[in-house]
Symmetry: D2
Subunit: 131 residues, 4 copies
């Protein structure tokens, strides 16, 4: 998460637990105290997202095959719907992780930075609804 500027003194630590870590197996709530030691153990969770995205990639390739084979429009639409649903599920997972870590850390610090993080997440939800 190189994009997160370490504007606060705890910024570096915040960055390290943000964002994909939060749905790790064993994740149980969010501490107000960012961890002292960087958490690099989210590979399991990353793998889960990568697996899901590879499956979506497969769905999109399946769509290309369907078009090439002149498949029935409604069947293609059904597959488009499935891929959209899968992307939405990824988005909801990412939002859950983001709110539980990045946003939680920022609101724990408080101030305009907290509000900005909350607004940024809400704006992302708004854009997703209008996709």
């Amino acid at each position: 998460m190189a994009e997160l500027s370490g504007a606060t003194e705890s910024g570096a630590v915040v960055a390290q637990r943000c964002c994909l870590i939060c749905t790790l197996p064993g994740y149980s709530g969010v501490k107000a105290e960012p961890p002292e030691v960087p958490v690099y153990g989210y590979s399991a969770n990353k793998e889960e997202y990568l697996k899901r995205l590879r499956r979506i990639e497969g769905q999109v390739r399946g769509l290309q095959r369907m078009v090439e084979e002149d498949r029935y429009c409604i069947d293609i639409l059904t597959q488009v719907t499935a891929a959209t649903k899968a992307l939405h599920a990824v988005a909801v997972g990412l939002l859950e992780g983001h709110i539980g870590t990045c946003v939680a850390d920022a609101t724990a610090i408080g101030g305009p930075e907290g509000a900005a993080k909350v607004k940024e997440a809400a704006d992302a939800i708004g854009r997703l609804l209008q996709a």
Copy 2:
């Protein structure tokens, strides 16, 4: 917010600042410390939501008029789209408020309650996407 069970010792206070307060004019970030004194001053914000919802009610009544007057389907659809968009905007506003107060307070406390609050919000986003 009678629904929030005061499971933690700070539960009662959490309830008092949750949820509509957060987009109050003058809102500037989220404090980790819930206010000692109950905040009842969110009438300005509530009025904003009520105004928006009354406008949406007006749009839905307008839809009834259009159907009664046999208006063109596409024009009715345009108005349905406008009402949906307005509901989505209300939802995003509520989510911003909720994440910035209820969820922030719960994640500041941490533990399974924090994670549950984050998951509850994510589930609500997921349902909204599938509406």
Copy 3:
């Protein structure tokens, strides 16, 4: 449907069967031949749409009550989701009716008018998806 200009000689008749008629009980397919006699018998169907829209109006009023009573954000969001879903159901019903009558009549006539009617419906679907 006063908006439909009677550009073709059968325009007036087209207008009369468009749009809400199509989901009438007893509706069974769409004839290429527009009816010689105006069809005014869609009151049953209109009533169905009005009933649905009145229910949505009730949901939006319920939302105002929830805000007034400081109900829990997530519960309000659940109700926003229900109202959105109900609006979407109305939209899909209107589209089914519109495609089965207005669009069908226009494509039966053919030419640029047919294509324009199809495009107009597709654009409305696109806007609805981005609401």
Copy 4:
């Protein structure tokens, strides 16, 4: 479109112009008369869809890269939103084509088959809205 059963005598011809042909350059409205000669000239249009789907595949691969590189959640969400939007645009294009050909042909024939085709398209729109 091998899925379309040739239930009516004109079924074979219907199948040949269904579905991707309809947004061909030079497409100008929908004829009530299905073409006597099979139309195989929609390769240009298919290529357009394949190009768009390949671009979406690239977006999904880009998402995998972003996860691998621990990019910021909100940036990943922005890309998920872009991919969803692109899928929706494909869906709207397919629907426009489908309504202008398959559905138009079925409603021109009329009867329960016409109504079924219209309902099938409306159901697909409903599923897409709930994706």
